[in-house]
């Protein structure tokens, strides 16, 4: 199988002088990672499917570049440099930074580190699982982060985040004092309900499926738009796609049908429903609260925490 793939790639790029063993080794590394990603041994057909899905043309170019083939480098430069520059300009704050990042990435791709007498090219870490362009976007992104950190090296990561986190969390959940003895009793009761509310919402979230957690985190923490989440699930091999289309009659009819924003919204709504159920159960069983007290918890939560609409991003799509 690998021999056939290699022959196809070589026919398309006969000047790259890629040796079969380099290519085989590279696919072997990717397959090795695939095999070790789970404790159970994969079926032979699973490994074949995995290899068949690799971006082998991109991998062939990367292998040639990793081994210093000038023709491959020239083609890479022709095909991807302007794209890299546009991505870097889009991400970087100034034109100088963008150019600096592209230059740094080129040097990194070529490789300046020599291990056991051999130069280590960044290209050798590309496995072909994603597109070369996608991988380059990731490399550019990381280079920009490194560049940013290097230019702010007087500020540690801890210092950069010291104004956020738990301290802010407590501050935001703190309740302004109303004053007076009556209000003090009221305050103790409120505190009890608030503690129960926070604990219950934490438990409810923790009980969710990892897919559901990821969806909620992308939507609420990363502020991703529904269409951006949908796009991540567009590839027919995406595990997210499988999950979003679970139990969907449309999937059976047309497994390659598009994932719509409405599908993502429906899953968000399902997740909210699940959280609500778990939240109520937690308050009822662990905190022994009745329906009326749960209603008070909800009321307090509404007062304390600003609500955001589920439909916030629909208008932007």
């Amino acid at each position: 199988m690998i021999r056939e793939i290699f022959a196809g790639c070589k026919a398309n790029a006969p000047n790259f002088n890629v040796q079969p063993e380099w290519f085989r080794e590279s696919i072997g590394r990717a397959a090795g990672r695939f095999i070790s990603s789970s404790q159970s041994a994969p079926l032979e057909s699973e490994i074949e499917d995995f290899i068949a899905q690799l971006q082998t043309e991109d991998l062939y170019l990367a292998v040639a570049c990793a081994n210093g083939c000038e023709r491959a480098w020239w083609e890479f430069d022709q095909m991807h440099r302007s794209y890299l520059e546009r991505v870097a300009r889009h991400l970087a704050s100034t034109e100088i930074n963008a150019q600096e990042v592209v230059d740094t990435v080129y040097v990194e791709l070529y490789g300046t580190r020599v291990v056991d007498g051999e130069r280590v090219s960044k290209f050798s870490t590309y496995s072909g699982r994603g597109s070369l362009r996608g991988w380059l976007r990731t490399v550019i992104w990381h280079s920009l982060v490194d560049l940013h950190r290097a230019s702010h090296d007087e500020v540690s990561l801890d210092e950069m985040t010291e104004n956020v986190g738990e301290g802010v969390a407590h501050a935001n959940l703190a309740v302004p004092s109303l004053g007076g003895e009556d209000s003090m009793i009221d305050e103790i009761t409120r505190h009890r309900y608030r503690s129960a509310t926070v604990s219950a919402i934490e438990s409810a979230f923790a009980s969710l499926d990892d897919h559901e957690k990821l969806l909620l985190l992308y939507y609420h923490v990363e502020n991703m738009k529904l269409r951006e989440i949908a796009r991540m699930a567009e590839n027919k091999n995406s595990p997210l796609r499988d999950w979003f289309q679970r139990k969907s009659p449309t999937r059976e009819k047309n497994p390659e049908s598009r994932i719509h924003e409405s599908t993502i919204m429906r899953w968000l709504e399902k997740s909210y429903g699940k959280v609500l159920k778990l939240f109520r159960t937690e308050l009822g069983t662990k905190h022994s609260l009745g329906d009326e007290e749960i209603a008070i918890c909800m009321e307090l939560a509404t007062q304390d925490l600003a609500s955001r609409s589920l439909y916030k991003n629909l208008s932007a799509t």
Binding site: Y83, R86, S238, S307
Partner: protein, 136 residues
């Protein structure tokens, strides 16, 4: 006691969840420990992580705010640059020497191109072609 307003409660729990997640996860900063490598990040964002690998990757993303953020940024970037065509190499133009391109970059970045190994693979034919020139 009146009926429970499920829809109203869902909206409330949504607001509560939103605030909780933002307080709990958004500002955790970069934790120590290992992160997903560029290859896995790219494969995940492009939807090329198969079912077998998906479990560990998704579990990691749920626990690691750094990788979660990187995948989110990369997904937005991917959407923004989705329609960019790949330039076909221009057949007429001549490849410039790799060592020249990189040598220029090294000088620009580090002030010198010294110390960088510019060994590169050459086919036997290329090596043979160049030898007589050196003799001349």
């Amino acid at each position: 006691m009146g009926q429970i307003d499920i829809r109203g409660e869902e909206m409330r729990v949504q607001g509560l969840l939103d605030r909780f997640l933002n307080l709990r996860f958004a500002d955790e900063g970069v934790k120590g420990g290992s992160h997903l490598d560029e290859d896995s990040l790219t494969a995940f964002v492009e939807g090329n992580v198969g079912e077998r690998e998906a479990g560990p990757v998704i579990s990691h993303l749920v626990d690691c705010t750094y990788c979660l953020h990187v995948t989110s940024e990369l997904a937005k970037l991917q959407a923004g640059f989705a329609d960019e065509p790949v330039n076909a190499p221009v057949a007429e133009s001549q490849p410039s020497r790799l060592s020249e391109i990189l040598g220029g970059l090294m000088t620009k970045i580090f002030g010198t191109g010294d110390g960088v190994v510019f060994a590169h693979h050459e086919s036997e034919e290329e090596a043979e072609e160049e030898e007589p020139k050196e003799d001349e």
